[in-house]
Symmetry: C2
Subunit: 700 residues, 2 copies
């Protein structure tokens, strides 16, 4: 969808321009506060000649120019005639604040929405909203926003799309934020959120994409945009409602968004290196961090420099709690620091520079440069509480010290951020000065180190190594049916999963014959898609060996099943060579209706149940991704030679994960879920053993 | 120690009063900014007649009054003569800013410190510092602080003691903070941190005690104060350096504090219901929350009310991530809310009230009252971003709505807090107005819900149910020795731990005889305090039954040990009836040099190693505490009838924990560590089995 006339119009008509409070008045006030006289903005209102001293035209038709964009501040019933009138003036975009559409949940609202969308399509007008707060394009200085925000320099490179207008406004109200675009998608029934995302991904003025999402409507485009942004290394920061069931319900009732499972969404973001945050403050601050630093750190290793012992200890501890890497300084760095710092200082990382450096910009710069030059350091964190209410003479020296280093280093300067120890005492003047030299001021430590951990993950994210496809289902849902164990295994076998030779026997004689011919023992299991819990109904006998045992077991199993599940359709009894026990894993797939099959792998039994030690990732996965999944488990060490035990056959396990993920991707339209439980993993070179498997599919 | 003259002096002499920058000038400026003319403050400086227009005396002796407190702004070498002079004027307290003492790490500094302390003791003067930033007593308006802080209403009920002067200043600079006392303890070599804590615990003007700690010096008093505060339900909020090894090193080099293990400290705080926080922002905000609300919520169940869907979803999700309880509203509440809210709203908890309530204080008040009256609700959280930079007409209605409810409810009003979604856009005017009606404005959600989780723990903390003693060691350290398995078990048996009948045999014949006489099999283990890893040296044979097996096993064990540990002193072979396997736990004690024995309990094996699923608590513990420890484990469900398995004998396990903790407490001066690993727990009614035990003690 071409959004040029909507988001980068050359001419604008404000329909319903007014001096009163409300949409019409506030849009005019915003426009007059920010825009230049030369901008081609026309006010339209049949009941006025002038608005705030500017000429006002009785209708869009009267505007003495073509009209790219209409900002419609009038009620719902006026909208369709306006679109028709606008179309004749070449209008290609409309911002519609009015409510009274799908969000009401009423039949009439739905009818209005349908009519609006049909008309917009017919006239080829890109509609923002309805029921939205509009947008601001800071690049071209276009104010199409429904609420007043304080006049302030705002142009930057963060592109925001939000499904909550309130959150758009809250971000605008953050004094330090700088935007390329800030878009309130509203109902997003005309132009969808994913269309705006695509625009921002391609937009050269946007360096960071910042999203508040309640639900994804166009999964294919969503994935495509994440992929494009990842390829370009354009960070995407995402706040998504629905981590909790209550959050999901709220998102659904707010914008009527039905979203897939949070785990699937999370896995998707992980695959494309998008940064997920937890609240608006983190969304704002993370976006600002990525927007302000000149580039990502070369490595995710941090140096922390502070002026007091207490602050240094906080950085050490909160960094540790968030898994931040503070490498040791080299001997050379330590020597150089010892010369710069007072005798009683103990140079270390994190570094207590002591207050003696507070009043000497040159010394401060030298210390900063020394730390930055350490080859172990990827980024420098300066602990400093910017005070705005009391005189803080030291702030000037600190700033000057940083500025000297930034200027001297030029393009070689490693990223720097300032961490204040208390939030509500910032100094906006110095915050702005620091921003201008590429140094963001983060929120205090609990937020800051959480964000820096995510920055670390972004630094180590390797787009080239990831698979870039997602198996998005074209359809999903409906009635389901289960495959039998044997059928399930055979499906997996066809995709390369190693399955032991097994056979369905249909008489006690056949069972006996097979057991006699074999070396080892068998597990004998009732073979029926109707029986999910085979053991519970007496449908399983283990360690059966020899002809007579097998003969008898066959009879017993059939008898148990006839008694306990008289209606089950039975294919016979599956005879599987007894697997030796190995390390027990589980490997599963959940097919998300929206984002497709998601692989889930973890250590079996209580590890999954009590410790939730599982890793999830969208299918298909490649072998490197499979290994990363395993390495992300807390129980990884149990696979990798724990306490002198033999290493497990991780290679075979990874291959199994890859094969299962290929099966899942190939069956994206029909698979509901898949479970291999347990999956035995044997010592290196000895492979894996699928002990049981269950596939549930949708009926075609 | 009597701190009255130090902290609540009737007369004060500022020695080194000045108009210049530095301690002398800044103290005078602070005093003149804040204190009343009637206050008995005397400036002293031999080189001036007047300071800031006030008379200045050439020496303390010249002050025409008794002098309770001297604020000493002059260098180290002047201090002792000043103390001597002051003593003659009745001086009982001195604030000493000067450095040049123990913090330098030099012999001279240490000598200076020793002389200072001896002199202070001789003269009975309570010395704050040296090398401190002083204090402010906001109750009596006494400014003895070395740095300028902006003139501002500051009197409240938070009592701060900090081992970092910088953090004291940062707390003062937080516009919303209100203090009773803010004390920078400095080196805390005269009056110790624990003395200030005791003062605040007893002080009627202090409602919340707020601490930054690098190390505890007087563990006994520290514990005593925590106990006193807990008994009085006076909350103690603690930021302590040393969660990480790097943080510990920094704290040690900063104030020379050697602290015990962080786990022991943490366990101690837990025992006394003190609140541990992670950074200064959280210390400030948590203190302010506890200071501002009129009382703790009756139950730790929250209602969340917001004006937009996006904000409501954030509260739902971040609350969930922090384990916050959002009870369902009753049917009655839901009915009442449906009447108040627009038709399209879906009342729920968290509640999206929709923006339609933004401009109607009465309606807002009704909604708030309805939610507050819900019997399931203990506290109400109002989501609202206080903007200070743009016009926000709604803020007035929100405030008025809250005020109406607070006034109407009076003492029956449940606690309320406001959660903004972005920090840096607070409105100080309304923040203050809300503060005045007992409604704190918290930091944004990531902090806020973390704090509310801690508030929940405080609400459910049950002082009456906890044991109030701690086994603080009088001495600790030195060379250690290990007890043999049998010796270890016998020590535990004496304290009531159930130990199977076992015997040391010293010949193969004796082993054979014992085995012949018994029903079951035996574990035979080399009995030697010199061999810690008995299995590794072939010193253990399991499942030995019958005379000949036992005879042979004896020989084999002795032979292995002779070969592998030729120097070990051997008492014989321990014959223990084979324990049946049960649920494997570990139970241990670490004796912290400062805080004494700490019990550690967890599920055995990988659960402890990989998942760190252990609970720690100071000894001695009572049975209720033991049960709480077990319930706090992630693996608790494995004990409590997991997936239809029999419940474990939790009662016997608790009794064992209690007995071990009693043993540890009784041996607080000699025990280094104790391990029972594994401790088998059997099904309900069948007790526990100590399979192995090791005690290490200090040599007396």
């Amino acid at each position: 969808m071409d959004l040029t006339k909507l988001l980068k119009p050359r001419t604008i008509a404000v329909v319903g321009a007014s001096e009163k409070e409300g949409f019409g008045g506030d849009v005019c006030r915003n426009i007059l506060s920010y825009m230049k006289e030369s901008d081609n903005v026309y006010f339209v209102n049949p009941r006025r000649d002038k608005v705030f001293g500017r000429p006002c035209f009785p209708s869009v038709s009267h505007v003495p120019d073509m009209v790219d964009l209409m900002i419609v501040c009038t009620p719902q019933k006026t909208v369709i005639p306006l679109l028709e009138e606008g179309a004749k003036k070449g209008c290609g975009g409309a911002v519609i604040f009015a409510s009274g559409y799908g969000e009401t949940g009423t039949p009439e609202g739905k009818k209005n929405e349908k009519e609006l969308l049909e008309k917009a399509k017919e006239l080829d007008i890109a509609v923002m909203g309805p029921n939205c707060a509009g947008y601001v394009n800071y690049v071209d200085n276009i104010q199409a926003f429904a609420f007043i925000s304080e006049k302030r320099e705002r142009k930057g490179n963060i592109g925001v799309v939000s499904q909550s207008g309130q959150l758009c406004l809250s971000m605008m109200d953050c004094p330090s934020m700088r935007f390329s675009y800030n878009i309130s998608a509203g109902n997003a029934k005309g132009v969808q959120m994913e269309d705006y995302m695509e625009f921002l991904a391609e937009d050269e003025d946007t360096k960071v994409i910042s999203l508040y999402i309640e639900g994804v409507k166009n999964a294919e485009k969503f994935v495509d945009v994440l992929n494009k942004a990842a390829a370009k290394k354009k960070p995407v920061v995402v706040l998504k409602a629905g981590r909790s069931s209550k959050g999901q319900a709220i998102a659904a009732s707010h914008t009527g968004s039905l979203s897939g499972s949070d785990a699937a969404f999370d896995a998707l973001l992980k695959k494309f290196g998008a940064v997920r945050v937890e609240d608006l403050e983190e969304l704002t601050a993370m976006s600002l961090l990525l927007s302000t630093i000149p580039g990502l750190p070369g490595k995710a290793d941090f140096a922390s420099m502070n002026l007091s012992g207490g602050e240094t200890a906080i950085c050490a501890d909160v960094g540790y709690l968030n898994g931040i890497s503070y490498p040791d300084f080299t001997e050379e760095t330590l020597r150089a620091l010892k010369e710069l710092l007072p005798g009683y200082a103990t140079p270390n990382n994190p570094l207590d520079m002591t207050a003696s450096l507070s009043y000497d910009a040159d010394l401060y710069a030298k210390a900063l440069e020394t730390v930055m030059d350490d080859p172990n350091v990827g980024m420098v964190l300066i602990g400093y509480t910017l005070l705005y209410e009391i005189a803080d003479p030291a702030i000037h020296y600190m700033y000057e010290g940083i500025r000297k280093v930034v200027q001297k280093k030029g393009a070689q300067c490693k990223p720097i951020a300032v961490i204040p120890f208390a939030e509500n005492t910032r100094n906006p003047e110095y915050q702005q000065k620091l921003f201008e030299i590429g140094v963001p001021v983060l929120p205090p430590p609990v937020y800051a180190f959480k964000m820096l951990k995510k920055l670390s993950e972004l630094v180590t994210y390797d787009y080239a190594a990831a698979s870039h496809t997602i198996a998005l289902p074209e359809k999903s849902g409906g009635r389901t049916y289960a495959l039998s164990e044997h059928e399930s295994k055979m499906e997996l076998k066809a995709f390369g999963v190693s399955i032991p030779e097994e056979k369905i026997v249909t008489s006690p004689e056949e069972a006996a014959e097979m057991a006699r011919a074999a070396q080892g023992a068998f597990a004998m299991k009732i073979e029926s898609a109707d029986i999910l819990h085979k053991s519970d109904v007496g449908g399983v006998m283990l360690n059966v060996s020899g002809g007579s045992e097998a003969y008898e077991a066959y009879g017993r199993i059939l008898e148990n099943v006839r008694k306990n599940c008289p209606d089950a359709r039975v294919n016979g009894v599956l005879m599987v060579p007894m697997l030796k026990a190995g390390t027990e894993m589980i490997l599963g797939v959940n097919n998300d209706p929206q984002f497709g099959p998601v692989i889930m792998v973890g250590m079996g039994g209580v590890f999954v149940e009590l410790f939730k030690d599982v890793a999830v990732y969208p299918a298909p996965v490649n072998k490197k991704e499979a290994l990363e999944l395993l390495r992300s488990l807390k129980s990884w060490r149990l696979l990798n030679g724990y306490r002198g035990q033999k290493k497990c056959d991780i290679n075979a396990l990874c291959e199994t994960i890859v094969s299962v993920s290929k099966f899942a991707a190939a069956n994206k339209n029909t698979l509901k879920e898949l479970d291999i439980n347990p999956l035995f993993v044997y010592p290196e070179g000895e492979g894996v053993g699928v002990a049981d498997s269950l596939i549930v599919k949708y009926k075609e």
